[in-house]
Structure formats: structure tokens, C-alpha cells
Symmetry: C2
Subunit: 424 residues, 2 copies
Amino acid sequence: MNSFVISGVKMFKPSGEVVTANIYVSGDKISKITQGEVAGANVIDGKNKFATPGLVNAHTHASMTLLRSYSDDKALMDWLQKDIWPIEDKMTRKDIYWGAALAAVEMIKSGTTAFADMYGPCMDEVAKVVDESGLRGSLSQGLIGIFDGDKRLVWNIELYKNFHGRADGRIQIMFGPHAIYTCPPDYLKKVVNEAAKLGAEIHMHMNETKTEIDDCIKNYGKRPFEVVAETGLLDLGFLAAHCVHLSDEEIEIIKAKKVRVAHNPGSNMKLASGICPVTKLLSKGVTVALGTDGASSNNNLDMLEEMRLAALLAKVDTLNPLAVPAAQALQMATENGAKALNLANVGRLEEGCKADIVLWDMCSVEWQPNYNPVSLLVYSANSSAADTVIVDGKILMQGRELKTLDEEKILAEFTACANRLTKN
Amino acid sequence: MNSFVISGVKMFKPSGEVVTANIYVSGDKISKITQGEVAGANVIDGKNKFATPGLVNAHTHASMTLLRSYSDDKALMDWLQKDIWPIEDKMTRKDIYWGAALAAVEMIKSGTTAFADMYGPCMDEVAKVVDESGLRGSLSQGLIGIFDGDKRLVWNIELYKNFHGRADGRIQIMFGPHAIYTCPPDYLKKVVNEAAKLGAEIHMHMNETKTEIDDCIKNYGKRPFEVVAETGLLDLGFLAAHCVHLSDEEIEIIKAKKVRVAHNPGSNMKLASGICPVTKLLSKGVTVALGTDGASSNNNLDMLEEMRLAALLAKVDTLNPLAVPAAQALQMATENGAKALNLANVGRLEEGCKADIVLWDMCSVEWQPNYNPVSLLVYSANSSAADTVIVDGKILMQGRELKTLDEEKILAEFTACANRLTKN
């Protein structure tokens, strides 16, 4: 059983305060948090380190790392139809695996400990990566109702049956209806039936672009959340990615149905989708988490950057420098992320919680002077400061050295996959 | 005389294209650029590196690193009056030096080779740091007309006489009238007189906040650029920081007077000032460069981040995913930066230009796959990828090891200054 103590470390408390403490880990849990001296074996020196809960990437498509920098600065439909989809059509089981494996390396090295993924087919390969890497993954099969919808639904059911709760509970399976423009209401009702039978939750793109809203109103006479609510999908536990364009009525639905929102500021800015009304949602008590979206639209899986963007974008959007202060951005990326993925006892550094911990190294110049580690992490640091990453009490990286994954091999296999996919 | 060649490196051309080339450096210049094999001594292996011109930080206050993370998430006037100004009042000559020295470390380590600085008193200490570090600095005394205005003007004149053109031309001195709300028109006319006698250019905060515009109209019946134009200040060569709130008439003045704009997206977002109309200015042919502003409002001096923010913010602001593509963001941070600081033959990798070069290491996962180094640098990398930094043909950092500055000593002295300033 894992048993160690991180001594004398500055620690981010659930309240948003920072204290110097000793964090004891036993098995998969934080067993106690103390002040004062620590002696004995199995001590990780926490000096000049900042301990935060592991970052939770609440919306991504891990294997899309394969398409990073392949196509940028394009109009959305040009980008998808001409560049992204033709390559995705060529992806094999092997590509899904190595794409997700590289994503796992990138996530661990930037302080992410859990992620919500939607892609596929072959999501079992992503499950394998979650198992091997030691990360937590909430995986869903991307369900496209208008193309092979029934087949994909079977894949999602199988994924659930084969993997939900596996790897000591680190793998969770959700159902992943892609979006209202690819999943008509009748299909969504099928998804509700199957997911409800299994008790599975839902992960879906919602209200990302203006076009999506306009088309939905044209086709169904209602806005997306209204259509989706009528199918019963929101009652299963619902993670909604993007939520850029929301009416006041939709915000009330989100609140009433306890929908969790994954805000993706980097992707929404880069694709010029618009700005999610984060402060409005937060003021209504909605759980707003943060996600990177896929690496082909972001272009990385760096949650530190996403925190910074969330804090900066909310301020300039509302013209209020007090909007989304640093501690709130960090809570969105940790505690809210865990809530968004429905991970029990994750996202908080306190006794009895899961030991999902990142130690950030505070030695480099951008951390000086060190008046406020939270401000420094959110506004100044870069993700290469992630020094030690712990999930379920297990050390996945220490001193930036990966403990569970073979970075060199993954890089080589990943590069071979990318080359094959993009060579004519 | 420095003489070496960077072999087989991917290189960002002034056109925005990327080619694999050998970059020969002789003395302070790029003497030639070739294709094919290179043999002989003094070869820097360019494999897996991306060569760009050094980044130019077109607006900062270097010594404000001392105030990083001291006060964040506050309303502007609370922040300035209660937290920032009282500490600044206590700053000594030594603080200015060590604050700027830490800034120099941070700039070199994140790929910046030149910066435009406005602060003071004791800007001669910043000049000393520029000299010792090997960076280029365009320095100006912050001139506050409404408080000790004449004394400060004398300081700026002395600064010019003692330092302009020194350190092999790496130090340039500008005049730094702080802003329209601290420098009334009569005072600006005095600045014009003195600067014109010396042939000095101007660096000034312009149109940063809505309040500044409203007050200017109330006091002078005109908008800031109209008031400043009448003083003659714009005719001397003018670097305008921020330019968030601009009327169409002011944009025409900017264009006609060839004003160079330093866009500070990070600071403008964090302080909720608003969004500079970058695409409009660029479409008029205005030189728009990028700046970080001081580390107390940003909170770092990371120009890679500023490029990314400039590209992302322009897209979401105009709802156009084609706005400020990656190559343009990189040009803003390099070639436009050099133009903004009026640095001759800087900011372009071509024969005869100054050898101000950054080699970015492309080995880490966020650079994979490597379809497009420009996209990767602007949208995915972080600044710890800066591996080698060259200014005027001299290597300031190689393999992330600083060659001109003693990082450890600077960190210790800087920390002592910060502690003294903020202890009651």
C-alpha cells in the first residue's frame, strides 16, 4: 500500500486559502493533514512546492493529438470537412491508442489527473491508456445519430459493460451523444433508454456555435437545451461541453437539471465560437468546470493555460477585474472538474479525499517574488512547473520523470501513426 | 568576433514561411543563409529546433517584477492606490536594479531579446542591466507632469545623454510621458521641446481605459490622440501602449502620424480594460506590436503567451477564426516589435540583419506531431521551450543556461529587495 507524506508544502485548501502543511497519503487517500515537523521515512520534501488537487480536464478528445497543428486558422466547416474528418476516417485502433497515450503523457506533464473524453470508435483503446497511465478517465463513445447511430450506441453500451468502474474505479463510462446537429431527438431518446438501463451519465457538446442554435430553432422550433430536456437526457446526470450561446431560459434549465458545464475558453476563442457566460452561470450556482477540447482546436491539453484564459476572458468579457479571481479559476479546474465528472471525493485536498495531488515547483523566476502561489499558478507560471503528479495515491511523475508511461516509445509510435495518417 | 553557424534548422522567414536552412552569424549579423550540408567548427546543431527572430516586448515596466502576485483581482484604482503606489514609493536604486535584473533573466529564458521599458526614477540602473545582460532595451523615464514634472524631465534628458546608443547601440533612450491623465498638454509641449532637441522618440500609455477617455473629453473637449497630436508629440516617432478605446478619427491620426501601437492583451484582459481593435489597425497598415505590460498586471513577461492571447482574442472579438493567424502573431512579436522600437535591421531572419535569434526546442510532447512549427509555437508550446537566445551575435543562453547573468545571485538579491519592500 502506498504510504508517504509530503512535508512542509504550501497547500491550496478547498476554501481557496493557502497554508503550509504536511499531507499524509495512505493507499488511495489523503489520510491526514498536519502542521509542524515531520520525521521518518517516505517523506517527499514539499519545500518550494505548491500542492493543488490534480487538474481535471472536463472536455477533450485525447486521440486528436494526432491532428495537432495539421490545420489551423481556418473557417470551422472548411477545417472539419476538408482537413479533420478525412484524416479521422483513416484512423485505426492503433492510432486511437497511441494518440491517447501521447495525450496521457502531455496531461501528466502539465498537472492533469482526470479527463472526460469523447471520441471513437475503439474507445476501449483509450480505456487501456487510462488503465496503464494511472490517470482517471470518464470516457464516452461519440454517438453520431445520423450515421451508423445504432452501431455506435451498441459500442457505447459495450464500453460501459466492459470498462465502467475498472482500474480501481479510475475508469468511468458515460454516453456521448455528439451534438444536437448530429443526433436528432428520436435518436437521443434511444440513448436515454440505453443509458438509463445502465445508470450511465451523459457527455454532450451543447450550444457551441451560433449556427448550431439557428439550425436547431429552424428544425425543431426550440433551442438545443429545450429540445434535449424533452428527451429526458438531462435527467441522467449531464456534462455539457461549451455552452457558449445560452438564452436565459436555457440557463434556468441548466440550473434546474443540475447540468454541469465544461467551459473551453481556448477552443471557443480559437474557433471564434464566442464566449460562455461563465460569471452568470456561476452566480446561479451552476458547476462550471474547464476543458481544453481536442488538441487540433486548442492546440494543447494544458489546463494551466485554460485556467488563465478562463480568468482573463471573464474579466474582459464583463469589464469587471473582479470576475473569476485566481482561486476561483483553480477551483473550476479542480473541485468543479471533479463534480462535472461526478468523481466522488476528488478535487479537494482534505482528509479522507482521494490522493490526486500535483506539486508545482516554485523555483523558477516567473514564481518570484512569492506573495501568492495561487495568483502565480493561475497568472504567471507555465505548466512545465508540474513536478510531481499523484493519482489515487500512486506517483505518476516525480521530478518531471514519468513513472507509468514510456515517453520515448510513445513518442516514436505516435509519430509513426501521424506520419501514416497524413501522408497521401 | 562571434562566428558560428546554426545548421539544419527550421527557420521562420519574414514571409511567414518555414524553411530548413543554415544560419551563419558573423559579428553582430546574420552573414548568410544557406541550404544543404554544413561542415567545420563552431556549428550549433539546429536539429529539432525552430529558429525565430528574438521576441520584442514593446511595452513593459521591468522592475515591477518586484510586485508580481502582490495584488491581483482588484479594481484598478484600489489596486494602484492601496497596493502598488505605496510600495513603488519605497523603491530604491537597488530595487530598480535587481527588479530589472530578474526581468532580464525572465525575458531571456522566455525568448525575448529586446524590450521597451518605462519606469523610474533610476532608469540608469535598468540601462546597466541592459548592458550586462546583452539584451536590447529602449528605455524611457516615466514622466509624471503633475508631480515633480520638471525634475523628471531632467532625468529623462540625462538618461538620454548618458546612455542613448551605448552598449554597442543596444541601449536606446526614448522620452516617457506617462499618460494624458498625468501629463497635461502644457507639460507635453515641454516634453516635445526637449525630446526634439535630442532627436528622441516617445513612449506613452494611450487610451487604456474608458475612464481615461471620458476624463480627457471632460478636461479638454477632445479625445486623447487629438489632444496629444496638437502638442506635436506624435511627430517625433511615437510608441503608443494599449490603444484599447479608439475612435475612427483617432485611428486615422494613428495612421497618418505613423504611430506604432503596443498591444497588451494579457494586461488589458486581466485589468478588464477592454480589447484593442487589432484587426482594424492592421488592416489600415498600422504597425501593431505586442507587449506584456508590467509583471504586476500580467503577471509575467512571457511574450509567447502574449502572441497566443493576441491571436485568440482577435478571433473571438471579431468572431472570425481567420483573424490574426499564427504567422501574423509571430510577426507582431518580432518584426513589428522591432519597428515599434525603431530598431534598424532587427526582427527578421535574413542576410545582413542583426543576429537576434531564438532557437526553440521542439522535442517535448506539445510540439508533436510537427506539421507546422509556427502553429505549434503560437498555439501549443510554452516558453520553457526557449533553448538558445542570441542578441547581436552573442549567445545569452544555450541549453537554457544563462551566459551573461548569474541567475542564483539575482534571485537572492531580488528576493531580499521584495521582502524589504513589502514587510511593514
